[in-house]
Symmetry: C2
């Protein structure tokens, strides 16, 4: 069983922390894996950038703290600069392509997640569009599990909006697969 | 140095996870303590309830996982039922007094945190009012550190609103001290 270390980073108000919570919940409650969502507060957390870290393992998570992320999700340029340093050599980097430009040689895939949300009239669901992109672009979590985790977390009246954002992001993710 | 284990629980959409993130950030970056924000996904996370867990220690946090919370923050009745089982004997329980009724014999203190936020026209800052209540009612984190953590986390244009909610909650907290 593969261990995945996922870091999601952006700026305050984008729902980064909530998206990490939902990802871990999907893996743990609905995919039957072990997941730990944790937060280390380094000096890079000063200022507008924030990050959430999720470790997912098919077996028990032995070491709950993220060491070198193999999946990095970047929702702002400041976050890209602060949180890209220690990623694994074969890391997959997923970016909001309108908000982030990266100069690294890693595998970078982009989707307009904030624009997807704005087109729906609710910028606040950009994080859920990004979770859709992540789900479509990688095999870290199943689509069904993510949908269940979203439905059991967001306020009930916003479930259709959130699932629409998730599905739109998912389509970008599927198309980005090699 | 005292180790504190704080659990914040409520329903999805109340900003519970974000409030845990801010509490840990205040302790780690602005009070100079060690803090770990983590999440375990037990079966109680199914449905509408969610919880965030923060361990704060003046020394290094040896064991990052919460064992028996000594501070329990409850923002919904469902969360109160799901997340109250394993608290410490001398735990302090802080509740939104309009949303939660508890039958336990623990030290319970209430504030109308959601009503405070609604009176400001933005129910979304109820979690920040609750952080104010927590800061005023306990010595787990300093007022200055919390204000800095809020200012560096929320979107810039919402800082005054959030600090107003924090201050209103703080006054309830101070008045609730024995």
């Amino acid at each position: 069983m593969v261990r995945h270390e996922v870091r999601l980073a952006g700026f305050g108000g984008q729902g980064i922390i909530m998206s990490g919570y939902i990802l871990g919940k999907a893996a743990a409650l609905y995919d039957g894996k072990d997941a730990v969502f944790s937060q280390s507060y380094g000096p890079e957390a000063r200022g507008g950038a924030c990050a959430a870290e999720v470790v997912i393992d098919g077996d028990q998570v032995d070491y709950p703290v993220l060491t070198r992320p193999d999946i990095l999700v970047l929702m702002s340029q400041e976050a890209a600069q602060k949180y890209s340093a220690d990623m694994a050599d074969d890391a997959i980097v997923l970016i909001d392509e309108d908000l982030v430009t990266t100069g690294t040689g890693k595998t970078v895939r982009g989707a307009p997640t904030t624009r997807i949300a704005e087109d729906m009239g609710r910028r606040i669901v950009a994080n859920i569009a990004m979770l859709g992109f992540l789900t479509g672009a990688t095999s870290v979590v199943s689509r069904r599990a993510m949908e269940e985790a979203i439905k059991s977390t967001v306020p009930e009246k916003t479930i259709p909006l959130n699932l629409n954002a998730f599905n739109a992001g998912f389509e970008y993710g599927e198309r980005s697969r090699p």
